[in-house]
């Protein structure tokens, strides 16, 4: 994965963690207001995405001591 792609993926994911599309009080989702559940789950997904983006985009120098 190129750095440009990594940057785009991680920033898109970061922006999507914001509960943009919630305007009214939604129902209860797993013990949380709907939008808060969205914010929490998206934060978890963002962490997982970061882990994989680092894995795929960062290629350490093999000749390094």
């Amino acid at each position: 994965m190129t750095l440009k792609k990594a940057f785009i993926i991680s920033w898109s994911a970061l922006i999507l963690t914001i509960p943009w599309w919630f305007t009214d009080i939604s129902g209860e989702w797993f013990g949380l207001p709907g939008w808060a559940c969205y914010a929490m789950v998206s934060a978890i997904i963002y962490s997982i995405i970061l882990f994989f983006v680092i894995q795929k985009s960062w290629h350490p120098d093999n000749n390094e001591s």
Binding site: A6, P19, L32, A36, S42, Y46, S47
Partner: protein, 490 residues
């Protein structure tokens, strides 16, 4: 933080003292492990940190006392809106993806010690280097001062006021400066490793206990629905923009804290650094998120607290758990140790970073030709001087001045373009970056100060932090000046 009686008995206080004194022993071991009398060895542990120590020192440094005490208080006041704090800290890890690999390779090749070393290497401009270093210093000074203040309050709470605020600040600062000047980054990183483990165990344990004792999210939801259903309202557009602005502060600000950048320089090799940062991606979930839940639990249990009392939300929950018999004195001791560990690990790292910036970025540029041993000695003396001055300020500074000192990340993010753009846009010149940094800083500081002084200027115009507006102006200035510069003269 308001506590009526001592949080720990004599046995608990004795254990806490033993733990704090252990840090000096670790500092001494760090000194024994020293390989040479050089700046690189003192400030970057000889660039030899392995995965475990590097990860733990990154973790312990990034999560301060504010995470354990302040974040829960904020969750109490803001409710579910405080979930932004999780992505705020994750965003910093996202920024590492962009700059850490390239900066690490350059630091290894050109032996950087401070973030401004890179700025100087890239732009070769003394004015820009010193400006960037000065902004880093201001952010670090703020970090040290606010955390020293927090440590004083914790000591008062732990001992029920038997040890006064000033004595607590002086005693713990003394411990930090002793182990820091003994072994530099090696001592700091090793103590951070111990503190990081305590911090992690403390936070996880309190989270699990809360889930078992009260019933977790379901309990919180039902209680808040009865007492404060307003907290269920999703953020409006301005609040969503503030949410976005907050993650920008995390991405461009938290990620370039000088002590974080120096830990990147300290990695043994790139693979070590990569693994440490990968693990760091999950830390906001088991630290920040857990502390937000603690704050929400406090809201469910004790509705209607004022701002000052809500700052002690974590301690209120702990005391309630103690009353219910869910936790004993050991758990209370563990959490207080974790809080003190979080504060100390942040202050010692910031102190070391400040001393390195003054020595390397200011002194060596004004008085070149000094030996590594002389510079290291100077750095140690500076640490004592900075700590003494910080302790004095933490004790005597009036509250009105403290409000101005809250400007921290707003300043630091003005350095971000020099690093991010500097790494990837080869044609950008120092003049543009310097002007961008100056105008961005002026805007951010002007707006914040005017607001703090009570003028009719919002600190967050349209929900966006003044510092983030400053950053946009900063970047805009750079591109406009570059465009003008690249136009052929007719």
């Amino acid at each position: 933080m308001k506590v009526d009686s001592a949080l720990l008995g004599p046995g608990g206080i004795a254990f806490l003292c033993f733990y704090i004194l252990t840090l000096i022993l670790i500092g001494w071991l760090g000194k024994k492990a020293r390989k040479e009398n050089s700046l690189s060895d003192f400030y970057l542990a000889g660039r030899g940190m392995g995965v475990l120590v590097l990860f733990l020192t990154l973790y312990a440094t990034q999560y301060s006392g504010n995470t354990l005490v302040g974040f829960a208080g904020r969750a109490y006041r803001e409710g579910y809106h405080a979930l932004v704090l999780v992505t705020f800290l994750s965003a910093a890890v996202g920024a590492f993806i962009v700059y850490a690999p390239k900066l690490y390779r350059l630091s290894k090749k050109h032996e950087f010690i401070t973030p401004a070393d890179y700025v100087h290497h890239r732009f070769g401009d003394n004015k820009l280097t010193l400006f960037a270093a000065a902004l880093c210093l201001m952010a670090l000074a703020n970090y040290i001062l606010t955390n020293l203040k927090a440590i004083g309050y914790i000591v008062v709470a732990v001992t029920g006021g038997v040890i006064p605020f000033a004595y607590g600040v002086i005693a713990l600062s003394l411990v930090m400066v002793i182990y820091e000047t003994m072994g530099g980054m090696r001592s700091v990183a090793w103590t951070d490793a111990l503190q990081g483990v305590i911090l992690m165990i403390g936070v996880i344990t309190i989270f699990i206990t809360i889930q078992l004792e009260y019933g977790g999210f379901e309990f919180i939801y039902n209680q808040i629905q009865l007492t404060d259903p307003q907290k269920f309202i999703p953020p409006n557009l301005t609040q969503k923009l503030t949410w976005f602005s907050t993650v920008c502060l995390g991405f461009f600000g938290i990620s370039i804290y000088p002590h974080a950048v120096q830990r990147i320089y300290s990695a043994k090799n790139e693979r070590t650094l990569k693994k440490s940062i990968q693990i760091m991606a999950f830390m906001p979930l088991i630290t920040t998120l857990f502390m937000v839940v603690v704050g929400l639990t406090a809201l469910a249990l004790f509705p209607g607290l004022d701002r000052q009392t809500s700052e002690g939300a974590t301690l209120l929950v702990l005391q309630d758990l103690g009353r219910r018999g869910a936790i004993g004195a050991g758990m209370m001791m563990l959490f207080l140790s974790a809080t003190i560990a979080a504060i100390m690990s942040t202050v010692d790292s910031a102190l070391l970073s400040m001393s390195s910036i003054i020595t390397k970025d200011f002194y060596t540029r004004l008085k070149p030709g000094k030996s590594q041993a002389e510079l290291t000695r100077l750095g140690k003396m500076l640490s004592w001087g900075i700590m003494a001055f910080s302790v004095y300020l933490a004790i005597v500074l009036p509250q009105t001045i403290w409000r101005l000192l809250e400007i921290k990340l707003e300043l630091l993010i003005q350095v971000a373009p020099a690093i991010f753009l500097g790494l990837y846009f080869k044609k950008i010149k120092s003049t543009s970056v310097l002007w961008g940094m100056a105008i961005g800083t002026l805007f951010a500081v002007g707006t914040m100060v005017a607001n703090k002084l009570g003028l009719d200027i919002p600190a967050k115009p349209w929900g966006i932090h003044a510092g983030v507006w400053g950053l946009l102006i900063n970047i805009g200035t750079i591109f406009i000046l570059e465009k003008i510069r690249s136009k052929p003269i007719e």
